[in-house]
Symmetry: C2
Subunit: 301 residues, 2 copies
């Protein structure tokens, strides 16, 4: 089983109340693909600009992520995002967004990816997701992550995308905004009724809820005091979660789903303990399994 991840690749500037870091790797595909690589072989699809450095590519290659689908656009710069986390480390302000080459991004899936059975559409314009879907021959399971921006400015395309995928991942505030419901569970159910196999509602530091026609599963976040940079927590959660399902051949039984939610949670918890994907670069499967045992002791009853 291989997983194709399509999404944004960014160079970020991130400020937290404690530290400021510039030119670090970001973007939905970056976090999701890196997180997924702990579970399955990953093919990454995205676009970068003339300012892209070979050392960035090497970071992915070092985890055996296939980078054939990363297009280098020589006439522009990589998508750049600058953000600042407020004192509570949860709320953030976007200081600057430069779409650059992402503005006209039309994903071009390498032939090997067009045969993929599993496709993850990281947070990005729904039109990008649709474009990628049109290039896929016959996928078994397609999951997309989305955000408030697209609910606001591209709702029709988002609905269109939702009608063609199996699972949607989004934040609780976004689920409420999307449906007009005030209750997270009710919002999730309403989205599910759009014809999805499942919906995962992310609640940040409070965990996530998985909903399917017959399933309802809840996972709290792994409790950590060491939050260094929350950027990419949601992307890495979603990437790892879906990758775990892919590693079980796309099965959606209770055990697989619960484990997928738990692994997504663990990878996200490692992610926020460093800037960018830096802490994910430091961990291995043994570290993940060790935290799994800790988490089971903390949560399971």
């Amino acid at each position: 089983m291989k997983l194709t991840v399509v999404g944004s690749i960014a160079i970020d500037n991130v400020q937290t109340p404690i530290e400021k870091r510039e030119n670090i790797l970001g973007g939905s595909a970056t976090f999701a693909a890196y997180a997924a690589s702990f579970f399955v072989p990953v093919q990454m699809v995205g676009v970068v600009g003339e300012d892209w450095l070979p050392e960035y590519t090497k970071i992915f290659q070092d985890r055996n992520i296939n980078v054939e689908g990363i297009e280098v656009e020589k006439n522009g710069k990589t998508f750049r995002w600058s953000g600042k986390y407020l004192d509570n480390m949860n709320d953030r302000e976007t200081l600057d967004t430069q779409l650059n080459v992402l503005g006209n991004f039309k994903p071009k899936l390498p032939e090997s990816s067009r045969q993929t059975k599993y496709l993850f559409l990281g947070n990005g314009a729904p039109s990008t997701g649709l474009e990628a879907l049109n290039q896929i021959h016959d996928a078994d399971l397609v999951v997309a992550d989305t955000m408030d921006l697209w609910i606001n400015i591209a709702r029709e395309e988002l609905n269109n995308l939702i009608s063609r995928i199996d699972g949607l991942v989004l934040n609780d505030s976004e689920a409420k905004q999307f449906t007009g419901e005030i209750n997270t569970l009710a919002a999730g159910r309403k989205i599910l009724e759009l014809g999805l196999k499942f919906v995962v509602v992310k609640k940040g530091e409070h965990g996530a809820i998985f909903l399917s026609r017959n399933g309802l599963y809840v996972v709290p976040a792994f409790p950590t005091e060491k939050v260094v940079d929350p950027t990419g927590a949601g992307d890495s959660f979603a990437g790892a979660m879906f990758a775990y399902i892919v590693a079980q051949n796309g099965k959606l039984d209770e055990t697989t789903i619960k484990n997928a939610l738990v692994y997504g949670t663990l990878i996200a918890s490692f992610c926020v303990e460093g800037f960018s994907i830096e802490n994910l670069q430091k961990i291995d499967n043994a570290a993940i399994e060790s935290r799994l045992n800790q988490f089971r002791k903390i949560v399971s009853f």
Copy 2:
């Protein structure tokens, strides 16, 4: 094992976006004692006024709650609270508070309660808790619930109280306010260092975190779409949680604590599905066990 519950007894007016109810039972002792009564014999201590109705007392007696410690003050009215929940059903406005007989409340523990091994101090003035503690001969385990009001206006007494109890229960925002920490876990740890055996940080619809010197346990809330009235969720959570521990003779081992957190969560979930304690009046142990199995399927992995 018996549990003595000291706290406020109120007559509430509650407005939600959907419904308005007047003269319903409320108060920290009401919710905590009723919730606790599913697990251990309870003795309730509080004060009410001339407007107290025998049918209120009967509600407690019907669950075998000993009401000998409910003092009826003939020269005043029962504590009254009026509140309004906002559209999100989480935030609320207090419309009116009339302390009435609660203003001068000095709990008088019946002799049988003075021998109690287990004391729960429901949310109320720290001085009330201290007064109750002074009447106890030799308790094994004392747990108090508190809130932001006391952190703001009675911090010294609250510190004094904390130095004399074993466990403290409070909300995440209150834990952060109390310690100046921005991270829930860090806030909990800092409170624990005041010399407590354990701290339980409640996160409302997001569950709770238990912290002790060697233990860290997390329980998400039971996911429900049927939130009718959130009043008393925290009190009933804390009352049921501690009562479960009391039912295990005050043991604080991992299994007991996890089960206590889970039962607290379940009772709170039943509580919010009705106004006041109305839905708690409808359930029995079979309903609780059935929800326990559901919850295990939803959360445990």
